[in-house]
Amino acid sequence: MPILEQGYEPYRGPVDRGAARFLAIAGAAIKRNRHRYAWILLLLSWIFGSSVEYFFVFFVYAVPAMGIQGGPGGEAFFQAFVDHPNFHSDMMASQVFWALAMATVVGAGEIAEDFRTGALVFYLGRPVTRLDYVLGKSAAVSVAVLAVTLAPTLLLFCAQALFEGSWTWLRDHARVPLAAATMSLLVCVFASGFVLGISSLVRRRRWATVTVVAVLVGLTVVASVLAPARAWTSDREQEQAAQAVRAATTPEERKAAYRRLSDALDPLGSGSAMAEWRALSPGSLLAACGRDLFGNPLPGNFPPGRHWALALGVPVLLLGVLARRVRGVEVVS
């Protein structure tokens, strides 16, 4: 292998003394992930899975606009969901699953691999601070999270606004973009803290991913066992709502009946005696925060404030773990 074939050349070009090194770290992390099969597979699954949101809009707006008659009651069914005050917050809540999955695929191995390969020494031996490093990794996770939370919600909102074409509708839903942005930010903080914090405790990407998934699934299973999904609403109430749908004769009656049915199926409404344990599930926890941000009421038996304490406390705690682990790295050994 030839060495010194070409002499050393000094660099005379410009040098950026800016402090935004974390953007370079985030960019490299995103670039590294884009060729991973797991990420591509997840992206395709998300596109397929979340397209259900657009079916609502399609059936409510596009089908009538095209002059196509929906099936019996179909239009009213979708209209009831779209008009429901919880529509946007619940839609965002449904994206939390994808957001956590994205964060796991993108972020779970980031810190673990850096510990294993000494990449932290690579970063910190350069004009990069520990804060730059943590911010950069969080930003990489956040980009993936925003892609599946904020982007589709805003797209949906814009599509609805165009179809509605009324200032009244826009005025009534003016809160939605801001609430969606805040909710997305919250999910970013939660997902980054959760995934990167756990990742910093493991030394291989594979094990970090397994650990994060195990914790997420474990918490959701425990929450579902303690406050079972089937007991969210009483069977009787649900049956009554279903009967009302069957008995409805006019479009207005049918719309009202569907709305009642959607209330009865509210994932946060609970007939369970231990509803407060739903907050153990990260999805329900963030969904509850979303309700607050979108200005929608939480079910009466959901403990007030606790979801915020958990949604902010858990990531802050885990980011603290990450910061401590990063601080402990010896750049010069």
């Binding site: 292998m1 003394r17 690579f122």
Partner: protein, 309 residues
Amino acid sequence: MADGPVVTLEGVSRDFGRVRALDSVTLDIPRGAVGLLGPNGAGKSTMLKVILGLLPPGAGSLRVLGVDPVRDPTEVRRRVGYMPEQDAYVTGLTGVESVSFAGVLSGLPRSAAMQRAHTVLNYVGLEEVRYRKVEEYSTGMRQRVRLAQALVHDPELLFLDEPTNGLDPAGREEVLDVVRDLAGRHGKNLVLCSHLLRDVERTCSSVVLLAQGRVARRGTMAEVRGGRKDWLRVTGRGDPGPMEEALRAAGCTVTREPGHLLVGVPAGTGTAPVFRAAAALPWDLRSVGPEEVSLEDVFVEAVSAPGPA
């Protein structure tokens, strides 16, 4: 600053609990290639951390290329290049991406960083494998890619931490060639931390020897080696016993070594006691010369009895 020292430390101390890692170190690291030596626990790593702004000193002050690393650590790390001893790479990146990324982190624009990455990889002899992922590199290649990462932004001062660690003799020679070329032909200032004294001896013009957190020896290689100028290497033919006795009687210290006598003469007497003793004895004196002290000798002596330089 053009001719002044690249690093200046004044009374720098650093404690870890009850252990004093650096003890009032006052030192100027001159331009050129400087070897930083010391046994484990001597304070080398602590000194490097303080110089790179990764650790504030407990007491004292320092300047690196005229910048205070306590106040502006990132500026110091932007202007210096640090090649760590251990593996340090980002997974999933090829050699050229890895070096280019190091350049971007050091402040180079993206396109310039990529161009520099190619140039520097050519220089360290990795041009043929630049598109392979770094995790697939051999130990020697990783060592070189670390050197390329440290060089990509053309730093004013290079810190090389055990650059030949784990390399086979050929690989070691090649890396030392690069280091010598950088210091010699290109006038790059560098500090070489190594346990391999021979590497330092063959590469550096000056040396700083740390022991127990203090500077035990420092100076140019000749100055450091010349610390035992009153020792003479004496060779001759015949029984050396009477010669030894005569020299001891003249106040010299004598050690018999294979093929020669090592004679410590009283200060200021030069070679006179040797010639006088030889003239009075039936012993054929063949040669008298100053004892050539290796860096290893100085190292062992300094480590066993450290003292301020």
